[in-house]
């Protein structure tokens, strides 16, 4: 899984290079900008949401957005084509397949793509005086929705045969604001930045409202790009390319910002897409693409190319050191991993193929921490074992969860627990006040045994 995460960085560089190449930006510039885009802090801070951390299709989405404004619209039907696949040109085929991939990849990025497509489609229609541009935009959206509908088949099927679970994935429109984008969060460096003044600047800011992605810093170079795009308003720039950058960036900000249009979407249509702050890699992509665009202009006019290449290298070094902190989100501890692994393996030796009840009872999914035990912590059992069966994981709102919750209530009835088929009791002490579960006294009295403990004493196990 960590391999997939690391490979994600390479994919991002590749797609960013691909985007810049389509606009005749030189390979060196594409390479540098691609690396900077792959290493934006978002990539590290989203390690927790590993699927979201994989934003490699965003540059491709950006390419399609710019194509919407092309003179010749996408998906124009060629009636005189000699073969069936030539009814559309290569660009349209690419755009169609890419739109499907975006839909299959991640719902958030697909959704934001659709927002941008609507705006770009309307703008292209007005700019090119052609309705076909709007039609091509809606075809793109249709393809994204087709892909999303296919990926939702298991969920739709589940709802059909067992009814909708009203206690899971319940969202409210307030959350759209709670998880909104704060401009300050994307422009201010993270608290442990290498450069003292930047670190100091961040620590001076105390947000009054804590939102998801409070550290969404997009990096110094991207920030300059973002400011550059917005400041083109000051010069009343009439260049179409500048207007496209500006329109896409402003759309992203207006939609995602706290109290922005995302709240209207949540109120009027659906509150399910509740984290508009996740649009920040799109903004970083536009900003870095804008930087690349300008670097190419500089390269074209600079007489001594070696000066340019050295400056480009410096830009990369500064950018990477700005974006990667000495410590990001990873808090690896070999001891903790070893301790967990050995503990679970020891249980597996005691009750191979057995069933284990996990305490304290933790509802599944999406619950706040119970003392020091975070959500999904009980999944350690599943992750480190091969054949054991674990009580955690039955969906809230279903009968199974209700039965497991009932049997987990204190004082425990060991008889009932045995009757349900459990062969042991696993306790995460972090889930109790002061890491001292009172339930252990009962277990030690009744079972007359010392528990099996993890090396770090966090977990213990009683065989029944």
């Amino acid at each position: 899984m960590n391999i997939y995460y690391i490979l994600g960085f390479v994919f991002v560089v590749w797609t960013m290079i691909f985007l810049t190449r389509q606009f005749h930006i030189s390979q060196e510039i594409g390479f540098v900008v691609g690396l900077l885009y792959a290493f934006i802090p978002y990539h590290f801070f989203r390690y927790e949401h590993i699927m979201l951390a994989s934003y490699c299709l965003i540059p491709i989405a950006g390419l399609l957005l710019f194509w919407i404004w092309s003179k010749k619209p996408l998906f124009v039907f060629n009636k005189r084509s000699p073969v069936w696949w030539a009814v559309f040109d290569r660009k349209s085929w690419f755009a169609g397949i890419a739109a499907l991939l975006i839909g299959f990849w991640h719902v958030y990025y697909a959704f934001f793509f659709c927002i941008f497509v609507v705006v770009a489609g309307v703008s292209a229609t007005l700019y090119q005086h052609s309705r076909r541009h709007l039609i091509s935009a809606f075809i793109l959206i249709g393809l994204v929705f087709t892909a999303l509908s296919i990926t939702a088949i298991p969920t739709l099927y589940g709802q059909l045969i067992q009814g909708k679970n009203h206690e899971v994935a319940r969202r409210s429109s307030v959350e759209s604001e709670l998880y909104g984008l704060k401009i300050v969060n994307i422009l201010l460096p993270f608290p442990n930045h290498r450069f003292g003044p930047f670190k100091h600047l961040r620590n001076k800011y105390q947000g009054s409202l804590s939102v998801e992605g409070s550290v969404e810093y997009i990096g110094l170079i991207s920030s300059l790009g973002l400011i550059g795009i917005i400041s083109s308003l000051l010069f009343l720039v009439k260049s179409p390319m500048y207007s496209k950058f500006l329109l896409l960036t402003i759309t992203g900000i207006l939609y995602a910002t706290l109290g922005g249009f995302s709240v209207f979407f949540a109120i009027l249509i659906s509150p399910q897409i509740r984290c508009p702050n996740r649009i920040s890699p799109y903004l970083a992509c536009f900003a870095l693409f804008w930087v690349a665009w300008h670097l190419q202009k500089i390269k074209n006019i600079i007489p001594k190319k070696w000066v340019f290449y050295i400056s480009l290298l410096l830009l990369l070094i500064i950018g990477l050191n700005d974006q990667i902190a000495p410590y990001m989100v990873f808090r690896p501890s070999k001891d903790a991993i070893d301790s967990d692994q050995k503990f679970i393996q020891a249980i597996e030796l005691q009750i191979p193929n057995g069933s284990v009840i996990q305490l304290p009872y933790l509802s599944f999914p999406e619950v706040p921490p119970v003392y020091d035990m975070t959500d999904y912590s009980h999944l350690r059992g599943y992750l480190f074992s091969n054949h054991l069966n674990w009580s955690y994981g039955a969906f809230r709102g279903r009968d199974a969860a209700k039965k497991i919750e009932a049997i987990s209530r204190e004082p425990l009835s060991l008889l009932k627990i045995r009757e349900m088929g459990y062969a042991g009791i696993y306790i995460d002490r972090y889930g109790y006040a002061n890491h001292q579960p009172t339930i252990e006294t009962q277990l030690q009295n009744e079972l007359k045994q010392k528990p099996l403990e993890s090396i770090n004493k966090r977990f213990c196990f009683y065989k029944l």
Binding site: M1, N2, I3, Y4, I6, F9, V10, W14, I17, E28, G34, L35, A38, Y47, E48, M51, S54, L101, F104, W105, H106, V107, L148, T151, A152, I153, P154, T155, G158, Q162, M328, F330, R331, P332, I337, S355, P365, P369, T374, D375, Y376, S377, L379, Y382, L383, S385, N389, W390, S391, G393, A394, F395, G397, D399, A400, A401, K403, I404, G421, Y422
Partner: protein, 108 residues
């Protein structure tokens, strides 16, 4: 058929950025965080809650407890009430990423 040195050179000139990126990116990674990831390539390296869910889904996927149309079915949780089909109650829509990870799983 031999590929001439000239044509190889030409191809490299055309694709060097992709090739070098594939080499340089993991090296940059290693430079900054290599020590951390040496610990484990299979388990979460933080205690962030949602990560456990992500890793559990991937384990299910690699164990063959996933298919694009049935979704993710974790056979060893929710005991003793049988397998839990996560996708049925909770929309998990990153199917293409699962396909990628499933493929990567063959190599590691």
């Amino acid at each position: 058929m031999f590929i001439s040195e000239k044509s190889m050179k030409k191809k490299f000139q055309h694709y060097w950025d992709y090739i070098i990126a594939a080499i340089i990116t993991p090296l940059i990674w290693g430079w900054y965080y290599g020590d951390h990831f040496k610990l484990s390539l299979s388990y979460p390296l933080t205690n962030q809650s949602d990560l456990w869910m992500g890793f559990a889904s991937i384990k299910a996927l690699i164990n063959g407890e996933w298919s694009p149309f049935s979704g993710i079915v974790l056979n060893h949780i929710g005991s003793p009430f049988g397998a839990v089909n996560i996708s049925m109650d909770y929309p998990i829509l990153e199917q293409l990423q699962f396909v990628f990870i499933w493929i990567i799983g063959f190599f590691f």
